[in-house]
């Protein structure tokens, strides 16, 4: 395959960036999108140019590092992570736009790499349990109803990639935050902090400057892990419940 890439190049956070056009040749349709970028970078390095910086780690869809916006879609046209997106979803001769996540709370570090530590701070505000857990407990000690276990697991799948924020027209982090809140709030292990967790994580989310939710549903469409839109409804329910219980 022969492709034309238009890639966001920005040397550092303080220097303005621009879309730069590159031609790449010899792309196999079995390559992942990241391998295609590797091919481009090899050529750039041989030419003595600066390679395109992008985040990646596991390359198997579980770490959440590799997010970029491809032709306006977070993680590209398929519902998966960029590392798991294969070039067979593109046509020979295509022009592909590659941009970083765009959000004030995700400042660009370099090229396609953004700083997502705002997510870490949301987690730090309540995405944990305070009970000392020790080693793996006996499974029958604390029974969890099957629907609750499924609900928790569905939300535990969130890999913190930030595609929800990148896709949302308001740059809102509600889907991510709801995944983290719902995961722990439904379980007995998370019960002691049930109210403070949701209030504090939502407060941290607002403090980071993410936008509000207008329920457009773009987040859930983009999420590679299939966190559904009703997760936000469930978090709203938790937040209102906690506000009634805890607020003076």
């Amino acid at each position: 395959m022969r492709l034309t890439l238009r890639v966001w190049r920005q040397p550092d956070a303080d220097t303005p960036g621009a879309m730069v056009t590159y031609a790449v040749d010899g792309i196999s349709e079995d390559m992942s999108f990241l391998e295609m970028l590797d091919t481009l970078n090899e050529e750039l390095i041989l030419k003595g140019d600066e390679p395109v910086a992008f985040d990646h780690d596991c390359r198997e869809g579980i770490c959440g590092a590799c997010g970029v916006v491809i032709n306006g879609d977070a993680h590209g046209p398929e519902r998966t992570t960029t590392c798991q997106l294969h070039m067979r979803h593109f046509e020979d001769g295509d022009t592909i736009d590659v941009e970083p996540w765009r959000a004030g709370a995700f400042p660009v570090v370099k090229d396609l790499v953004v700083d997502r530590s705002s997510f870490d701070r949301i987690i730090g505000a309540g995405g944990y349990i305070t009970a000392p857990t020790g080693s793996a407990p006996e499974a029958h000690a604390t029974p969890v109803p099957k629907p609750d276990a499924d609900f928790a697991f569905e939300h535990a799948e969130c890999i913190g990639c930030g595609a929800c924020v990148a896709a949302c027209p308001n740059g809102s982090a509600m889907l991510f935050t709801s995944a983290k809140v719902n995961h722990l709030n439904v379980l007995p292990q998370g019960a002691p902090e049930r109210e403070t967790r949701v209030l504090d994580m939502v407060a941290a989310m607002d403090e980071e400057g993410f936008g509000g939710c207008t329920l457009t549903g773009e987040c859930a469409t983009a999420c590679p892990k299939g966190i559904p839109l009703p997760s936000i409804t469930a978090m709203n329910r938790e937040w209102l419940r906690a506000t009634r219980k805890v607020a003076r």
């Binding site: 765009r102 004030g104 936008g211 457009t216 009703p230």
Partner: protein, 236 residues
């Protein structure tokens, strides 16, 4: 290990929590929107009385002023309703403005590759809301105070006033455009309010979407039937 939590003892008041949070502001919008929606259903049904002639319609308007008597003084019920509605409109619009500003600021640099996002009803909530706000002002100046009424406004004779308004081309255009905007606003807004208040979810998805569509259609069709009736001579 002691983790640095935000503490559970010192919590701001309920009002501060609501007003200081994006979810809280959205809750204010949902509740004020539902109050306006409830009013609009009653308003639309009341307006349909125009099809039964001037005496019935004018009599209904007169009855509204006596509502609540003798417990309440003449027109008090109407004024209470007006205060509640003005509060709902103002709170709704202020939250909409503040949240929209915040949403814009959350993406200082946009994407080079643009594409349409979300459904039409969802995308038009803001502009549709602005159209509704302008319409509400015009509508009150036209048919409540009579300040912007075409021809001589007659207090106590709403039948004639309505016919006068819908005998002008612009009265019909403004009204019909606003009611179409209202339908779209409710189509997304009603469902949206259920999600904000945490009563939505996978099991109720279809019921909520259907209710939103029925409400949106019934209100828009009900309100628009009146200018159409005046234009076609059914009411006049």
């Amino acid at each position: 290990m002691a983790l640095a939590t935000r503490g559970t003892d010192q919590r701001p008041s309920m009002t501060r929590t609501l007003w200081g949070s994006t979810i809280g502001k959205k809750t204010v919008m949902a509740v004020s929107g539902l109050i306006m929606l409830g009013y609009l259903v009653a308003h639309m049904l009341g307006n349909l009385k125009i099809f039964f002639g001037a005496p019935e319609f004018n009599g209904y308007a007169h009855w509204l002023r006596t509502l609540g008597e003798p417990v309440l003084h003449h027109e008090w019920a109407l004024w209470i309703l007006r205060v509640v509605l003005v509060a709902a409109v103002v709170l709704h619009a202020v939250c909409a403005y503040q949240l929209s500003r915040r949403d814009r600021a959350a993406r200082p640099v946009g994407y080079a590759h643009k594409r349409a996002r979300a459904t039409y009803a969802t995308r038009t909530m803001r502009w549709g809301g602005v159209i509704l706000a302008l319409f509400i002002v015009w509508h009150i100046l036209d048919l409540t105070t009579g300040t912007a009424h075409p021809g001589g406004f007659q207090p106590g004779h709403p039948y004639q006033n309505v016919v006068d308004t819908f005998s002008t081309w612009y009265g019909n255009v403004v009204y019909i455009v606003a009611m179409l905007a209202l339908g779209l606003h409710i189509l997304h807004g009603f469902w949206s309010a259920a999600q904000t208040l945490g009563v939505g979810g996978a099991a109720r998805e279809r019921a909520l979407r259907t209710s939103a569509a029925v409400l949106a259609f019934a209100l828009t069709a009900g309100f628009i039937s009146i200018p159409v009736a005046v234009m076609t001579g059914v009411v006049g």
